[in-house]
Amino acid sequence: MAEHVIKLPDVGEGVAEAELVEWHVKVGDKIREDALIAAVMTDKATVEIPSPVEGEIVWLGAEVGDVVAVGSELVRLKLPGDGAAPAEDERGAADAPPAATPAAAPPVAEAAKPRSAPAAKEAGTAKAAPVASEPPRAAPQRRLVGGPPRPEGEKPLASPAVRQRAREGGIDLRQVPGTGPAGRITHEDLDAYFAQGPALARAPGLQPKTAVLDIKLVGLRRRIAEKMALANARIPHITYVEEVDVTALEELRARLNGHKRADQPRLTLLPFLMRAMVRAIAEWPHLNALFDDEAGIVHQHEGVHIGIAAQTPSGLMVPVVRHAEALDLWGCAAEASRLGEGAKAGTATREELSGSTITITSLGAIGGVVTTPIINHPEVAIVGVNKIVVRPVWDGTAFQPRKMMNLSSSFDHRIIDGFDAASFVQRIRALLETPALIFMEG
């Protein structure tokens, strides 16, 4: 029998391993050449792995969630022809060198590369739903959803095969919610009902629910979990909250947006904050740093690469605006907007999702007075933006309505003293309250 082994190809520069996030095939499946067999996730990007040959899957080398080293066996395929013809055997042997020589990998890697961007997009949408514990056969995980209730006394709508299965299983179909068109009860509805029992049968009033859905943590969610745990365990956070009067800034922003050129992006508060941070970092450069605590070295960067935490359909992602120090206000705005959209659409590249030296997190749109941001390890500072609200401010003689915004910022207290942290935030505050200062040279 001619067998072909597909190994995990080189999925990106400097990547030694990748997490298997999805199988597109199962043992016994017959696949064509170029059919996608699996999706793996590296630090940031998801890559689809195609099959370079046609054949039948006989073995899967990992389970979803496993971290697979580049070059290790992913799938074994039985090649068509079943070895009856010697020529087939030779071809199979030539295609699948037994040792882990790189010969097998390049064609796969080449095939994978042009696909990686759209593939990441697909993976992004696919993972929006919680990935169940057995994704390759996800059907039984379907939940009972109450279809439109059937009017009293109406016969349930179901095919004869479904009706017979229900009868044999001792189930009254009138109790089974149908998810098909017009409330038709499908085999899957029956599966779900068999799995969950009659507890969810339609009954008036409030019902206790006892079902527990086990969701295996894979892909981006697992990465987020690991990173958050690492940051929170290693870094003693100090969080400093200050309120900023952004009345003047908002006026300027409105004015600039009103007079901007058509090709210029609409300004949000974000580019002003980025520019203000660049100014403040010039005075407190050790806040723009990566702390390698194992080596005991702080890598202080001159370039300001600002990560911008973004909520995407897959979860939290941090696209990075590189060299904010070299971008003007409009440049910062354009770059932040482009990267944010890319992250949401799942088209952001690995490079765009890594390399930040300081991070901004903003939950302002939702509201909230204070946040306690977790530092984007191994960075040492993160600036959190809260909602702008109009508050009465005492100006010495009277209360004035002012647009106020809180900044909630966290710092690695191992590297940054409270005094420096506070000074840094106060500098940003001063810049934002008198926005002309942001643009003053020297």
């Binding site: 016969k155 709508l157 095919s159 004869p160 044999e168 017009a182 038709r184």
Partner: protein, 466 residues
């Protein structure tokens, strides 16, 4: 006559019609020790004196009519031929050969399923014991479960008992000469199927019907193409007319106006309905609950006596072979211990008139009577290419669906050869299809079945070909 050794079995089926023999074969497949009793050839009314022989006769009549059309020189197809001659005796011989093949086939299938066949008339002794008068003696059979599948028989008119020139459908299917003047009493599907066939074979046919319309179980829209065809064939239909009796060679008929008319007739075919065969085999001993003339059954075909089931025509309307078969299959599985119940959504019915009528599920009126708001789509064969190429563009397909969720409630159609579409109609209803499901199913071109898809389009408001 020496007494035969008693037979003990698990299941005894009385009657080897399409209900009984299917039940017995299925039971045999399921490993049930089964005996079937039948006095005549297996296959019942359907194979011997009903569905099959009448369809053979209708086919022969159609072929003869086509030949006559060619001979008339009026065929638009440009075909001409010399005057055809029909040898009905040979037609009947051919028909009998088909029947023989089928009944022989059933006997073989029963044997293959290890079902023991006992030939003779059965008679109940009690709810567990039946005696059969066989050629070689009295056979006593004891069974733990008994299925009554005795079928039905033609109803005779008291004023016109069968005999002589008064014949039932059975007699009509055994004629060896086409009667010159045939009077058919009863414009139900059996009378019209046979009346039409004999008219095509050259008989002068008159149909006498007591009700104000033909095929009263169908709505007027469906029967209109049939009425038109009857007129074209020169068949006279007397509605609201009652057959009173024979007066010499003539049949006396009380007409709608009240006067009496004498219809000269060589043969008088009485097809005024069928009644369940519940007499003459000791059923009275068991005193089973009745539903009118029929045996009362529940959704598992159980009668009021434990261990006794009834299937087929003896259990009521619709008296159709395929209903009996489905019941028989179900009962065999129930006896084998399976959990089954009658939950069919529809029993399609076909009337092999010219053109044919098919119904499945609810008609528009029936649906409205049940309180449904309906959407109806009708597509005429006049707009169907395949129907035109067959010179058969009369009729239409009509689909009835719920207005709220578009679930198909019924499909009816009338047209040449449309009986073959009955499965599509029934499948749609049984599967719970919606109008969109049928509309989105690609129907092959050029076929009459396209009219089914188009009718759904029309119900959805966007027909293509009309």
């Amino acid at each position: 006559m020496s007494p035969l050794k008693d037979i003990d079995c698990k299941l005894l089926v009385i009657g080897a019609g399409p209900g009984g023999y299917v039940c017995a074969i299925r039971a045999g497949q399921l490993g049930i020790d089964t005996v079937i009793v039948e006095a005549r050839k297996p296959g019942g009314t359907c194979l011997n004196i009903g569905c099959i022989p009448s369809k053979a006769l209708i086919h022969a009549a159609d072929q003869f009519a086509a030949a006559q059309r060619f001979a008339s020189g009026k065929s638009a197809l440009g075909i001409s031929a010399s005057a055809p001659v029909l040898d009905l005796a040979r037609t009947m011989h051919w028909k009998d050969a088909i029947v023989g093949r089928l009944t022989g086939g059933v006997a073989g299938l029963l044997k293959k399923a290890r079902v023991k066949t006992v030939e003779g008339f059965a008679r109940f002794r009690d709810g567990k014991t039946v005696e059969v008068e066989t050629e070689i003696g009295l056979q006593v059979i004891r069974a733990s479960e008994i299925v009554i599948a005795t079928g039905s028989e033609p109803i005779a008119l008291p004023s016109l008992p069968f005999g002589g020139k008064v014949i039932s459908s059975t007699g009509a299917l055994a004629l060896t000469k086409v009667p010159e003047r045939l009077v058919v009493i009863g414009a139900g599907y059996i009378g019209l199927e046979l009346g039409t066939a004999f008219a095509k074979m050259g008989a002068c046919v008159t149909v006498v019907e007591a009700l104000p319309r033909i095929l009263p179980q169908y709505d007027a829209e469906l029967t209109r193409p049939v009425e038109k065809r009857l007129r074209e064939l020169g068949i006279e239909v007397l509605l609201e007319a009652k057959a009173k009796g024979l007066k010499g060679d003539d049949l006396v008929v009380e007409s709608a106006a009240g006067g009496e008319v004498a219809l000269p007739a060589d043969k008088i075919l009485v097809t005024v309905g069928r009644k369940p065969a519940t007499e003459g085999f000791g059923l009275e001993e068991l005193d089973l609950d009745r539903d009118g003339r029929y045996l009362r059954i529940d959704d598992k075909c159980r009668t009021s006596m434990r261990g006794i089931y009834a299937i087929g025509d003896v259990t009521g309307e619709p008296m159709l072979a395929h209903r009996a078969s489905a019941q028989g299959e179900m009962v065999a599985e129930i006896i084998a211990g399976e959990n089954r119940a009658w939950d069919k959504r529809c029993i399609p019915a076909v009337c092999f008139t010219d053109p044919e009528i098919v119904t499945a599920g609810l008609s528009p009126d029936e649906a409205k009577a049940l309180g449904y708001e309906v959407k109806i789509g009708t597509f005429p064969f006049q707009a169907n290419g395949r129907a035109m190429t067959l010179e058969e563009d009369a009729g239409f397909i009509r689909i009835v669906a719920r207005a709220d969720n578009h679930v198909v409630l019924g499909v009816q159609g009338v047209g040449a050869g449309i009986s073959e579409l009955s499965s599509a109609f029934a499948l749609a209803i049984e599967m719970g299809a919606r109008l969109e499901d049928i509309a989105a199913t690609v129907h092959a071109h050029p076929t009459q079945s396209e009219a089914f898809m188009e009718a759904s389009f029309r119900a959805l408001g966007h027909p293509i070909h009309i």
